[in-house]
């Protein structure tokens, strides 16, 4: 399994993320939805490193499955570290994004790898 620290400072690009979104719900009296948007190439990189494969060997199903697991792990970490002991995780969901479904980068917390936009985290209360 591969881990890399992401940074929260970088150049915010205006072009769409053009990748995918994995979502996990955290439920208690309140419901929060944590959505993670990833640039396609980075989603493949995460999957490849997670599974110990080369990037051109990973299938779309593997990207979907891995990114759902990533959302699950981040959601679990929120609960563990974020004083949300009473919250329970929902089942993670995943979607490929088209141009119409692009998130607004201002609505969430963009994260970067080596200065390049890597993804976006959006927490909403629903």
């Amino acid at each position: 399994m591969f881990f890399t620290p992401v940074e929260f400072i970088g150049e915010l690009q205006q072009q769409p993320l053009c990748g995918c979104r994995s979502v996990i719900v955290l439920k208690n009296e309140k419901i929060y939805q944590a959505a993670f948007y990833f640039v396609d190439a980075h989603a493949r990189m995460i999957t490849a490193n997670f599974l110990g494969k080369m990037e051109d060997e990973v299938s779309s199903d593997e990207v979907m499955d891995t990114l759902k697991e990533v959302a699950n792990m981040i959601g679990g970490s929120f609960i563990y570290h974020g004083e949300m002991e009473d919250y329970k995780l929902g089942i993670p969901a995943f979607a490929w994004l088209d141009d119409q479904a692009q998130p607004n980068l201002q609505d969430g917390l963009p994260f970067f790898l080596d200065g390049d936009l890597f993804g976006l985290a959006v927490l909403t209360q629903g």
């Binding site: 881990f3 999957t47 499955d65 697991e69 699950n72 792990m73 679990g76 089942i91």
Partner: protein, 140 residues
């Protein structure tokens, strides 16, 4: 002695990771069977007796806690060691899992040495006593 293990996780990637981590850990693994949720795991157990179960909690169809409950209703599997492998560590879930007889708990992501220590501690083995003295094993 090599142990036959059932891995229960809805994520095929995570099942692959657990298999790989087990093989890197040095823990003696015999046959490894997989299930995508608790319901499937109960069906698989009918045909493939195992020595140990590693189960996720957050799964569709039948989650890990429901699976553990079902398992304990059957005299054949009342004593079957089950280790929960999950991202969720809320006290409520941990308490529920302990009450249902889970033998240990590993939080994802985990390292090969953690899984080895945890499983050796539960299943016994030449270095089980040493492992029990350090912090690398399962929680509980």
């Amino acid at each position: 002695m090599a142990y036959n293990i059932l891995i229960v996780d809805d994520s095929a990637s995570m099942r692959k990771i657990i298999r790989k981590t087990l093989s890197l850990s040095g823990f003696q693994v015999g046959a490894c069977v997989e299930a995508a949720n608790g319901k499937e795991a109960l069906e698989i157990l009918q045909q493939h007796p195992v020595d140990l179960v590693l189960s996720d909690i957050n799964m569709p169809e039948m989650n890990g806690v429901e699976f553990l409950w079902q398992l304990r209703q059957d005299p054949r599997w009342k004593q079957l060691p089950v280790v929960m492998i999950t991202t969720e560590t809320s006290e409520e879930i941990v308490k529920e899992a302990i009450e249902l007889g889970a033998r240990g708990y590993l939080r994802k992501p985990f390292r090969p040495e953690q899984i080895r220590s945890c499983l050796t501690e539960i299943m016994g083995g030449p270095d089980a006593e040493d492992l029990a003295r350090n912090d690398e094993g399962c929680d509980f």
